[in-house]
Amino acid sequence: MAVTTAEAAPARGGLVTWVTTTDHKRIGVLYMVTAFVFFLLGGLMALVMRTELAEPGRQVVSPQLYNQLFTVHGTIMIFLFVAPFALGLGNYLLPLQVGAPDMAFPRMNALSYWLLLAGGVAILAGFGTFGGAAATGWTGYPPLSGPRYSPGAGVDLWLFGLMLTSASSIMTAVNFLATAFLFRAPGMTMWRVPLFTWTSIVTALIILVSFPPLSVAFSFLFVDRRFGGHFFDPAFGGSPLLYQHLFWFLGHPEVYVMILPFFGVISEILPVFSRKPLFGYTGLVLATLGIAGLSMGVWAHHMFTTGAVSNPFFSIMSFLIAVPTGIKFFNWIGTMWRGQLSFPTPMLFALGFMLNFLIGGVTGVMVASPPVDFHVHDTQFVVAHFHYTIMGGSVFGVFAALHFWFPKFTGVLLRERLGRFSFWLMMVGFNVTFWPLFVVGLRGMPRRIVDYDAAAGWGGPNLLATAGSFLLALGVVVVVVNIVVSLRRKEFVGDDPWGANSLEWATTSPPPHHNFESLPPIRSERPAFDMRHPSEERA
């Protein structure tokens, strides 16, 4: 008994306890806080770029700096914000959702966080080197990223940093799978595992398949750069296309690493605020697996304009991804159908996610058609498309998750009025920023340009987009204010303020060191719901 008490009350605060922790909840918090700080940095870079593009002519930054900014902005948002936030959320929630005391390998879990942080610092350190950070685009295509055209240390640090984050992701994936397969509580069968855990499992599978080829591509590139290799050097029989294949074999599945966990988040939030079970639990799980399978066979749709890939194959595979994605949408609608909906901030962000991601999805079908892609590839149209999926989708999912699980992490709710205000600022700001980019993209404005010709007629939509980006940024500032205010003046709300469903709500908020004092019986995928309604027959 004395041992339990000692464990339940660890020394609060204290930097050392955070640095040395192996508790999955603390590591999860470290992940999410770190990712959020990177988000703010990447967002600042985006604002500088949008300011530069507000009107034709160069006003704010040099082309050198601009090229570094969009390279590091993309790298940060993908590898240091969205994916790590999703993995951090999984770190916190997955053991709780399956009823485990911690991750399967707690020390490896801690290592994976520190590798991520080290990788992020390495990438940012590029700004301090002679020649600046990598300026190759987040895709880092050789020969541009090779020794001849990017001789500075920026690209080396970028490669090194990304290899560290890639190793970190692989470790987390192993932990997720081991925990979900081997550490489930009695009664928690695979068909009762909550959707967020399911999507985290599938995300881990994708990571295990797709990250090793990325490390291979980066190792080859590093050998080319520093040890006189010629993997990607056409002058010596190397192939720049080989890099593109290896890179996109990671790059496209990475998109699903960024979106699947948030499909899970939405699938957790909608039933709670509709007061109904998920419409098609099995359908959603199978659709998630279907997306993962298809995602391995679509990489070369990023290469339609090379003229050197089988366009029909990669086109039909990409089209087919719309089918399981459609299944998800219909399941979410079915969940709300004839429910009793309420709209606190997490629900608003979930609805915003659905509306924005839908636009990202239908434009994704457009760019999966090679002839359409011949026109819009590498234009602002593609920039708008993937921001509708990643920013309007995943990042709205981040905020939905943040508002929904904040009381689980801290015991307090975020302020509701500030939450709604931030949602509307972001929803309007996001659409005002990115809708005009569809317009200028269709008119032929390429991406990754620091300046454009006034005669091209792209000025108006660009100015509008810049205005929108500041509105969007203001929304993010309001979220930060909300977090600070809510933590300063705490209003405790109990263990389960939402009347939620999954197992993490059956313990205290925040949970004790080993998560559960006692486990409720698990007879469905809604054990917390069953606990509140003991007489309920299973629907």
Binding site: S239, R275, I327, M336, V362, S369, L442, R447, E536
Partner: protein, 234 residues
């Protein structure tokens, strides 16, 4: 008179809208792509309207909790099969029209009236018509490519250094210029005029200034121009 003006205005408006934001296509190939774009736009609009409609309907119709809990229903196999099969049919149809258009766009013509070797380099373009007729530019003086109208022109594309992309928005077409790889495609420009072109694949410092223009002239004018250019070179 007035009804006719109205009809003309309506047709103009419809014509402008029916392009859905994309250029009309100044080449035979570009017009085919613009047509395909219309098909995709309408399909996307229809799907988005239905799904957004269902979401908004749910939000408005089922808002605010009443007393008691709603029916805890779930799963409906016939419905789930239906919303799996319908998207499969939609994407299959889109796939079929996609490849009708793509095979047309990529079909080489039997008798191109001219062959132009286009080479991309940091950060401009070189257009080589053979026999010494070469036009090369710099970022400050973008080069101009001259092509005849109404007849197919063959482009043979490559790069001297890094990956670039040859892109002319009014043609709705681009192709990567990859070092070590030679690409070939045909363009048939319909209308005389000057069209903007630009590198579309990020290629380093002056990527944004790697522009060019295409001037399309009649076949006779083109032949005179080419003869002149070759004479000057010789």
């Amino acid at each position: 008179m007035r009804p006719r003006t109205l009809v003309a205005l309506g047709a103009l408006l419809l014509g402008a809208c029916s392009r859905f934001g994309a250029p009309p296509g100044a080449t035979e190939q570009g017009r085919a792509i613009a047509g395909l774009w219309r098909v995709f736009f309408i399909a996307a609009l229809a799907v988005a309207a239905i799904v957004i409609g269902l979401i908004l309907w749910s939000v408005i119709r089922y808002r605010r909790p009443r007393n008691g809990r709603p029916a805890q229903f779930r799963d409906n196999l016939p419905l789930e099969v239906l919303y799996t099969i319908i998207p499969v049919l939609i994407v299959t149809a889109l796939f079929v029209v996609t490849f009708q258009v793509e095979s047309g766009v990529e079909r080489p013509s039997t008798h191109p009236v001219a062959t132009i070797h286009v080479t991309a380099f940091d950060w401009s373009w070189r257009f080589d018509y053979g026999d010494g007729a070469v036009i090369a530019g710099t970022p400050d003086r973008p080069p101009e490519m001259v092509v005849p109208t109404g007849r197919p022109v063959r482009i043979i594309l490559s790069s001297d250094d890094v990956v670039h992309a040859f892109y002319i928005p009014d043609f709705l077409f681009k192709r990567d210029a990859t070092p070590g790889l030679i690409q070939q495609f045909d363009l048939q420009v319909d209308q005389e005029g000057v069209y903007r072109g630009q590198c579309a694949e990020f290629c380093g410092l002056d990527h944004a200034r790697m522009r060019f223009t295409v001037r399309a002239v009649s076949v006779t004018e083109f032949e005179t121009w080419l003869a002149n250019a070759r004479e000057q070179a010789g």
